[in-house]
């Protein structure tokens, strides 16, 4: 089937008509008086009688000129033959976030779609066409389909926000190219704004790879990070372009609550802090300026709210209370054993030796005289520590960051039950379960409270028994990966590298027609020279 790649030049087909009109109009005889036409009359008679070839040559001139004009007009219309041996074509589309960048009024993906549809139209009718969308995952939109199905699949392409995993997509393309009993030549055409041939990482691939670059260099700014907590929102903005000043707005629960202007150096980043209402659940930070990629101009995040906790303490230890207050969400309540039942707390710290950390009180209440608590038990008397028994740490949630160097104990109360975390001379002095931790020594009988290990131990115990919690609302749209926001494509511009202009699957006839036109022109000049 012949089609014309530049049908707009069809007007040139009127040229033969113009030549004909000019030819007819040209037949105007200039008058000239001669003494006698006697000899001219004789010569014309001889001329006509003896030179039939001359008449033929004169008659040949006009058809040559008309034919040359028709050939040139057809050459301008760029006819191309579709068809030839059918093969296998695999179209791989980069649907990463950067493909949404807009240039000249259309996105890069739209440009890719248009070019793909033109390519599909040029393919033979029996061509097997596969359409793959390469995002974070590779989606197969059409597999060994006909042209119509492939065109519909191309129309369904949509961009995501993630980076495209081209290696995975090309691996799949390689598998498709090898699949089947037919020995068909396979061509993989990648439509991308960043992919380069040297990036291909598919070993042993036998397909012909062509790349259609979709995009020109554009500047862009992006909100690539957003966090919000306790009345503050923190955003970071990246600049993929020249130095600029951008305006940022912050909306809390859909209401504008703050705005900032920030200067960003060329290729740099900047951080912005916004004040948001304490009760805000959801924030959105947006760039006011428009650029090539609008999808990364805003980010959303849920506001984290820290939950306040209470710790009821019965012992009197300044060191302990100081260690407890390191947690900002923790309120320390000093109470008495008798008032424990009426004290609501998230954590109860009971006794001195042993010192019991527990989330819940036993049903019968806390008995300070008892030698057991839950699964823990201990001896009733203190055990004196003599010499320097070995202090060992077991791997546990409580011992992270501890060294316990130069820590001494005067007396201990070994704890049984639970899992030992710290032992002294083989005696567990810190044990733990899922619900409680028991320290089997009096803080006053050790120099541990004076060591930095002590607040670390206390925090470890708190993290185990009372991990920090933040209530968050449903998270919004995450920022686009930073790499996708850099749409400064280095390619020279949109050039349909993958367009088939000559291959066994189709051929443009423009060159042949131009050669024919030149030959006709030479023939016309030769005949004209002979005639005149």
């Amino acid at each position: 089937m012949i089609r014309f790649l530049s049908p707009g030049f069809a007007w040139a087909l009127a040229a033969p008509a113009v030549i004909l009109i000019l030819y007819l109009l040209r037949r105007r005889y200039m008058p000239q008086q001669v003494p006698s036409v006697f000899l001219w009359r004789k010569s014309v008679k001889d001329y006509a009688a003896n030179r039939p070839f001359q008449k033929l040559m004169k008659n040949l001139l006009l058809p040559l000129q008309l034919l040359a004009a028709v050939v040139l007009a057809l050459a301008l219309m760029r006819p191309a033959i579709s068809g030839g041996a059918a093969g296998r074509t695999i179209l791989v589309f980069d649907v990463s976030g950067s493909m949404q960048a807009v240039s000249d009024g259309r996105s890069r993906l739209d440009a890719a779609k248009e070019e793909a549809l033109r390519l599909i139209a040029d393919l033979p009718a029996e061509e097997e066409i596969t359409v793959l969308a390469a995002g974070a995952e590779t989606e197969r939109l059409a597999l060994k389909a006909d042209k119509e199905t492939a065109e519909k699949a191309v129309g369904r392409l949509e961009c995501g926000r993630d980076t495209a995993d081209m290696d995975r997509a090309l691996s799949l393309a390689d598998a498709v190219s090898r699949d089947g009993e037919k020995d068909l030549t396979a061509t993989v055409i990648v439509f991308s704004d960043t992919y380069r041939p040297e990036q291909m990482n598919v070993r042993g691939a036998k397909f012909l790879l062509k790349i259609v670059n979709c995009g020109t260099g554009e500047e862009n700014r992006a909100v690539y990070s957003l966090e919000a907590e306790n009345g503050q929102a923190y955003a970071r903005v990246a600049n993929f372009g020249g130095a600029c000043t951008v305006s940022l707005t912050c909306e809390a629960d859909g209401v504008l609550c703050d705005a900032r202007e920030v200067d960003i150096p060329e290729g740099g980043t900047a951080g912005v802090r916004f004040a948001i209402p304490e009760t805000a659940e959801h924030v959105r930070v947006s760039l006011r300026e428009t650029d090539a990629l609008k999808e990364d101009n805003s980010a959303e995040a849920a506001v984290k709210h820290t939950v306040a906790r209470k710790a009821a303490v019965t012992s009197d230890s300044v060191f302990l209370e100081s260690a407890l207050r390191v947690r900002p969400d923790l309120t320390v309540l000093r109470t008495e054993n008798d008032a424990l039942a009426s004290t609501e707390a998230d954590l109860y710290i009971l006794g001195t030796s042993p010192m019991i950390f527990t989330r819940t009180l036993p049903e019968g209440g806390y008995d300070p005289e008892a030698a057991a608590f839950g699964s823990f038990s201990w001896e009733t008397g203190e055990k004196e520590v003599s010499g320097s028994p070995a202090l060992s740490l077991s791997e546990s949630p409580l011992t992270g960051g501890l060294t316990l160097k130069n820590v001494f104990f005067r007396s201990i109360r070994p704890v049984s039950g639970g899992r030992p975390a710290v032992t002294l001379g083989g005696d567990p002095i810190v044990s733990w379960t899922d619900d409680a931790v028991v320290i089997g020594f009096d803080l006053h009988e050790s120099n541990l409270p004076l060591k930095y290990d002590f607040p670390v131990l206390i925090q470890n115990i708190l993290d185990w028994l009372l991990p920090e919690q933040a209530e968050t609302a449903e998270a919004g749209i995450a920022p686009m990966p930073l790499a996708e926001s850099d749409v400064r494509t280095v390619a020279p511009g949109y050039e349909p590298e993958g367009r088939r202009t000559e291959s066994e699957k189709g051929r443009e006839l423009t060159g042949s027609l131009l050669v024919l036109f030149l030959l006709l022109l030479i023939a016309e000049m030769g005949v004209s020279r002979y005639v005149h």
Partner: protein, 283 residues
């Protein structure tokens, strides 16, 4: 108008005839006819310029007309110039007229009588019979009154219309555009015992036409038109036709023992005419 220098050159020349002259008295040619000897031969009418000593006074008294006595002796001949004055001669009229003047001068200075006939419109307009050098101005004056504007009739018709053609020397000055290549005209003149010489006058535009493009040629004489694409082949065909035509005229002249001269009106007349006559052994 012939220059004095050219005329002075002509003074040293005289026309040559193959046959014996047949004329009146006082010619320079040998003749079988009678001359100025004691033996009376014949009478003829007096022409102004003739020797009045030869007048026959008795004949005057008897017939009230002047007659000249002829004796058995050398006599002058009659030179006739037939000058084609059709419209086709306009392009080369100057050369044709000069040729007529030159031939006429040679005749007059050679002691010959001269008749000039202008051929046009199928007729011949005859000049008075001229004799003697002093008649040359009358010749030129007669030619001054002539215009080459004949558009009707043929050359042959005009030749046949010419009166008073007696045996003698005849110069036919024409472009020769006849279908038969002057054959009939030459035959007629031969019939009238004319020793004919043909001077064919053609212009450079006729001998070497330089034309191009689409042309509508108009015959200056008949008004006939001919559309022509003057390309290289057409010009080649014209040259072929011209060569054939000239060859035909030459052959007709040759076969009738009529000297033939081709006069190119593009060449300076006074430089080429005497050599032309000499080459044709007319002088």
């Amino acid at each position: 108008m012939l220059s004095d220098l050219f005329l002075s050159r002509l003074d040293t020349l005289c026309l040559m005839m193959r046959g014996r002259a047949q004329g009146g008295a006082g010619g320079s040619r040998r003749s079988r006819q009678t001359g100025s000897s004691a033996e009376f031969s014949d009478y003829r009418e007096y022409i102004p310029g003739d020797d009045i000593r030869r007048l026959d006074w008795n004949a005057l008294a008897r017939f009230d007309r002047l007659f000249l006595k002829l004796f058995m002796e050398e006599q002058e001949s009659l030179v006739t110039v037939l000058l084609d004055a059709s419209a086709s001669m306009e392009a080369k009229w100057a050369s044709a007229r000069s040729a007529a003047e030159a031939v006429g001068y040679l005749a007059l200075t050679g002691g010959d009588r001269l008749h000039l006939h202008l051929l046009k419109n199928g007729r011949a307009l005859r000049s008075p019979q001229l004799a003697g050098r002093s008649a040359f101005p009358r010749l030129t004056g007669f030619l001054d009154t002539c215009e080459p504007d004949g558009t009707e009739g043929t050359l042959t018709e005009a030749v046949k219309h010419a009166e008073g053609l007696r045996k003698g020397l005849c110069f036919l000055i024409t472009d020769g555009y006849t279908e038969d290549g002057l054959k009939e005209a030459l035959d007629y003149l031969r019939y009238l015992k004319q020793e004919t010489a043909v001077i064919q006058v053609l212009s450079p535009g006729e001998l070497r036409p330089e034309m191009s493009g689409a042309l509508r040629l108009t015959d200056s004489e008949s008004g006939e038109t001919l559309d022509l694409m003057a390309d290289r082949s057409a010009l080649d065909a014209y040259h072929d036709a011209l060569e054939d035509f000239l060859k035909k005229v030459r052959e007709n002249c040759s076969s009738r023992e009529a000297p033939y001269m081709l006069l190119d009106s593009g060449n300076p007349f006074e430089e080429c005419f005497i050599p032309l006559l000499s080459k044709s052994r007319m002088i």
